[in-house]
């Protein structure tokens, strides 16, 4: 019996991505100007985004699915990739790590994320997760001569490997229990056999929750995040704080709401404490940070906590508000990191929070942009961050989780202290020394895109939200 050729249309974006990444790796050997490679990857993103829009379908025997949900996440990954490539070249030159592998590895990492978003089977999920993780480990340690970068990479790698071992153990339990690794078949088996309150299912759900918590950096599995974020090259910190987190949420949503959808009361018991702890620890520890990258790391931990609310709500409104928030978060977070990158010049780290003193006087434009991103991260209207949080909290309230939303709002108020401290330092203090900004056309473009996205979505939130709602209908 010859096996028919599978339908390749749904995986076309991934296939093109693989091809481009391999071509970039080969081109690196001959091309001397590495910025060309970045330019090539930008062109390929255009092509892939075009292919994405016509890629709906299921293929490879139901292992791979391209639906609205995956496409929305893939668009976030594309935005993440484009913005990262735009903010990178100047930084790479300043740090003297201008190697072509950088661009190939970001493509491979994004490919892994795309596979995760489309995974309808735990085997594909695992492979996508590892492809993303392995590429990101290397990128985190990209400044080879720098002790901090090495340390970031090794800590990220050790805890990431630990998390994937836990994920696999959970997989093996669920496989033994249901006899399949397909998420829909698992769901069918669970409802048919009434496995609610089954201890083995409960244990495997705990394993899954722990593994995904590592990936999205949720407390108490967040220990790697501050170190990895601080030590990694700053564009990669921006990349890591959005891409793997979004991919983690994509698989978290799919596994818990599709495969374990019928036993929601069982797993919300696991996720609620994780969400509350994440918001608490993330926001409280961010208060005492003196390094801006570290502060943004704790802030990204806290944001994972907010987004978990949408998953816990479990309603279509909840999931769509997670998608919406992830989209907004990508722009505001990378925007903030772009400013951090601009402060880095040769021989000057510019990572200390006190370096922002008086930036409003010396560099008014950069300070104003930072103000927008900080307001958005706090959730102050009319920035996009406010709308994102609003929909997220509304969906949780409508699902009956009012007390968690009250907790979330309280911690959100605490977060205002450390975000607005930056704004205060920029505008209320006198400049200590004149700081040179390390600008480039790429960073300028990235900042223009992110700031207009943050303001536009803040004023006209309906468009993205409608897209997100449409994305989850096929879920």
């Amino acid at each position: 019996m010859p096996i028919a050729m599978p339908n390749l249309i749904p995986v076309m974006p991934e296939l093109v991505m693989t091809g481009v990444a391999i071509i970039l790796l080969m081109a690196e050997l001959v091309i001397k100007r590495k910025e060309t490679l970045g330019f090539l990857s930008l062109i390929s993103v255009g092509l892939i985004s075009y292919l994405l829009l016509g890629s709906a379908g299921t293929t490879f025997g139901g292992m791979f699915v391209s639906d609205g949900y995956s496409t929305f996440f893939k668009l976030i990954f594309m935005a993440n990739l484009v913005l990262t490539v735009l903010i990178s070249p100047k930084y790479l030159q300043t740090m003297r790590i201008n190697f072509g592998e950088y661009y190939a590895l970001t493509l491979f990492a994004t490919l892994g994320m795309m596979l995760m978003a489309s995974a309808a089977d735990i085997i594909v999920l695992y492979l996508g997760l590892e492809l993303m993780a392995l590429s990101t480990y290397v990128l985190a340690g990209f400044i080879r001569y720098d002790m901090k970068s090495n340390e970031a990479a090794i800590k990220y790698l050790l805890l990431g490997a630990f998390a994937s071992a836990i994920l696999l153990y959970g997989t093996s339990l669920i496989y033994g229990l249901t006899g399949t690794t397909n998420l829909r078949d698992i769901a069918v088996y669970i409802t048919h056999n009434g496995l609610a309150k089954n201890p083995l299912l409960m244990v495997s759900m705990i394993f899954f929750a722990v593994a995904f918590s590592f990936k999205i950096a949720a407390v108490p599995f967040h220990m790697w995040a501050p170190d990895a974020y601080e030590g990694a090259p700053t564009p990669i910190t921006a990349f890591m704080s959005v891409g793997p987190k979004a991919a983690g949420f994509a698989v978290l949503g799919r596994v818990f709401l599709v495969a374990f959808g019928s036993v929601k009361t069982d797993w919300s018991v696991i996720l609620i404490p994780i969400a509350v702890l994440t918001m608490a620890i993330g926001n409280i520890l961010a208060l005492s940070q003196t390094n801006i990258k570290r502060m943004l790391a704790y802030s990204s931990i806290a944001h994972a906590g907010y987004m978990l609310l949408g998953i816990i709500a479990g309603t279509p409104a909840g999931i769509s508000s997670v998608l919406n928030y992830m989209f907004i978060y990508a722009f505001m977070n990378i925007g903030a990191f772009a400013i951090v990158i601009m402060l880095r010049t040769e021989g000057f780290a510019g990572e200390d929070i006190s370096d922002y003193e008086g930036l409003g006087k010396t560099h008014p434009t950069a300070a104003a942009l930072m103000l927008v991103f900080m307001f958005s991260l706090t959730g102050i209207p009319p920035m996009a961050g406010f709308m994102g949080k609003f929909y997220l909290f509304m969906s949780a309230i409508n699902a009956g989780y009012t007390w968690i939303v009250i907790v979330a709002v309280l911690f959100s108020a605490i977060s205002a202290y450390f975000y607005l401290r930056i704004v205060m330092l920029m505008y209320m203090k006198e400049p200590k020394e004149v700081i040179q900004l390390n600008t480039s056309p790429g960073i300028g473009l990235a900042l223009a895109v992110t700031v207009s996205a943050v303001i536009l979505i803040g004023i006209l939130p309906a468009k993205v939200l409608a897209l997100a709602q449409q994305a989850v209908t096929s879920f």
Binding site: M1, P2, I3, A4, M5, I22, L25, M26, L29
Partner: protein, 118 residues
């Protein structure tokens, strides 16, 4: 039926003839330029006697890493070979793509001088 094992017998004979033949031919054609390292029991540059806690060069790790990565890929060839006749051309094309991707990795390692010892 003993006749069913004829193929095995032929295979055995060809294999023996090939290995002996290669050794004999090599004896006639190879160059003999011995130097100190070459005459060591292990030609890998490792001194076979001495302290067991001796540190050895980090270069071995690079070779070992490359070996592990390329070696493990062979695990996919076995299941592929078992069902090859059932899947046909599609499986062949897929495996060719797989090998090509591995080959790209090999070219990369080679051009980055991962195989140069000094």
């Amino acid at each position: 039926m003993p006749s069913e094992y004829l193929g095995v017998l032929i295979f055995l004979m060809v294999a023996t003839a090939f290995s002996i033949g290669a050794l004999v031919l090599g004896e006639f054609f190879r160059l003999r330029r011995p130097y100190a390292e070459k005459l060591m029991p292990y030609e890998s540059g490792n001194i076979p006697v001495g302290e067991p806690h001796m540190r050895f060069s980090v270069k071995f790790y690079i070779i070992a890493m490359l070996f592990v990565v390329f070696d493990v890929e062979a695990v996919f060839l076995y299941p592929w070979a078992v069902v090859f006749d059932k899947i046909g051309l599609y499986a062949f094309v897929e495996m060719v793509i797989f090998i090509v991707i591995l080959f790209v990795g090999y070219i990369y390692a080679w051009r980055k001088e991962a195989f140069v010892w000094d």
